[in-house]
């Protein structure tokens, strides 16, 4: 029984993790970003220019917030999906509870 309960526990974690992994998507343009939010949901990894003004504008337009800047985030040059200004890393956006 101990083994069965542990199996159930692991299966639950793996199922949730698979779902989570399938729902972290990169967006490289504003159109893509909005489309992903409305059609797929989940976390969207996108470039942000680092300003509170852009963050607020994105929230106003889409109700999506920056959930976090992941620890050990990969550094990568890119352009902010809204302002087009340079960015050094992607952050995770999502609509949230």
């Amino acid at each position: 029984m101990d083994g069965l309960l542990l199996d159930i526990q692991h299966d639950m974690f793996n199922k949730a993790k698979t779902y989570r992994e399938e729902h972290i998507t990169k967006a490289d343009s504003w159109e893509e970003f909005e489309k992903l939010l409305d059609e797929k949901g989940g976390f969207i990894a996108a470039h942000w220019d680092g300003t509170a003004a852009t963050e607020e504008a994105i929230k106003e337009k889409t109700k999506a917030t920056i959930r976090c800047i992941p620890l050990k985030n990969e550094q990568e040059d890119g352009k902010c999906i809204l302002s087009g200004n340079p960015s050094k890393q992607r952050v995770l956006f999502a609509r949230a509870y």
Partner: protein
């Protein structure tokens, strides 16, 4: 089915409410925004609490308790903190009721007005840092690694069972350190504890990260968080750990004499998770048939349902079921034998499926003959 629940596809929000209420976790109360946590939901919370509490103690923290009512003036000592919480504070202004002279029941006694109004804690940084001022004099008094299990009130206009309620239960850790590096290390360590708890006990995968400046805790220099994903594609913040810098030490004048014999302000962290986690648990794992609870924290891990016809079979099945129950209890499994004869086995199975009991075991006379 014993009880109808909405499906995720048709109405996700109704599905969630159905599971919480019909699954017996919690219900609305007479007070808007405040919920009743029912025995089954509370048993789940207790299992989460005891796992977390052990993890806190394993990392050298101790529990204490601070007052529910905090002087209003304390809140305004840290500028960002008051700004963040003022709009959702419940305020106590009087300490007595009296009979209404016009016969309308009881009214607030206007003569019993408090000299200084008290707020019901929305979080406890202020009262705790006011207390730490008396506890910390020298570097020998540090670190202080304290946790409190408590209820807090944040007046919410739009509430939702477990996820957003005016009153909720949580734990809040408040630590004090001699150096910045040590405080940051503590905040990061507790984020790890939360992530481990979420993944190992709740079977909930989380992403560890830091909040942007505008999403930070009011009064923090850095907010670390774990973020989880629900089945409708929405994210949920499952726990936060804050590096508070010297903000609260400065607001409450908490200084210590360093090894170098200098007066310095103390460095702080705070970290918390709440009954909101139960909402996350429900939304992350459950399905259209009911709750799906991870065995490590499920109030019941196994339920045994007897199936029999007539007294002979009943005696046989009953004996075997009790034997199995005793064996399972012996190895520490949380098990229930449901021999209630007023409900049929089919009803019981639907009910325990709705309640998310991980293993539902039927024992019939034929099963025993085959053993």
């Amino acid at each position: 089915m014993s009880k109808e629940i909405a499906t995720r596809k048709d109405d996700y929000s109704q599905w969630y409410n159905d599971l919480v209420i019909k699954g017996g976790l919690a219900d609305y109360s007479a007070v808007r925004g405040c919920m009743v946590i029912k025995p089954y939901g509370f048993a789940l919370w207790e299992n989460m609490q005891s796992a977390l509490d052990k993890m806190f103690k394993d990392t050298d923290h101790v529990n204490a308790y601070f007052p529910l009512l905090n002087p209003k003036s304390f809140l305004s000592k840290e500028a960002a903190h008051v700004e963040g919480f003022a709009k959702e504070c419940a305020v106590v202004t009087h300490y007595r009721l009296k009979n209404d002279p016009n016969g309308g029941g009881v009214i607030v006694d206007p003569e019993a007005k408090l000299e200084e109004e008290l707020i019901i804690r929305p979080t406890s940084e202020t009262i705790i840092w006011n207390t730490y001022k008396d506890w910390v004099q020298s570097y020998r008094d540090l670190p202080l690694l304290i946790n409190q299990w408590a209820n807090v009130v944040r007046w919410e206009m739009r509430t939702r069972l477990f996820l957003r309620t005016a009153e909720f239960l949580w734990q809040e850790g408040h630590t004090a350190h001699a150096t910045k590096e040590e405080a940051i290390e503590e905040a990061e360590k507790m984020l790890e504890v939360y992530a481990t708890f979420a993944e190992e006990f709740m079977a909930l995968p989380v992403i560890k990260g830091v909040k942007t400046e505008s999403e930070r805790f009011a009064g923090a220099e850095n907010t670390y968080c774990i973020e989880a994903l629900m089945q409708d594609g929405k994210a949920l913040q499952a726990g936060t750990s804050h590096f508070l810098g010297q903000n609260f030490a400065k607001a409450f004048d908490v200084k210590f004499l360093s090894k170098e014999n200098k007066q310095e302000y103390v460095w702080a962290t705070s970290w918390g998770v709440s009954t909101r986690l139960i909402g996350a648990l429900v939304m992350a794992h459950s399905d259209d048939d009911g709750l799906v609870l991870p065995p490590k924290i499920a109030p019941l891990q196994v339920v045994i349902v007897p199936i029999f016809k007539g007294d002979d079979q009943k005696a046989l099945v009953d004996g075997k079921a009790k034997e199995i129950m005793a064996q399972l209890k012996n190895i520490g499994v949380r098990v229930k034998y449901d021999d209630n004869e007023n409900t049929r086995p089919g009803w019981k199975f639907a009910e325990y499926e709705l309640k998310g009991v991980p293993v539902r075991l039927a024992i019939g006379a034929r099963d025993i003959e085959k053993m």
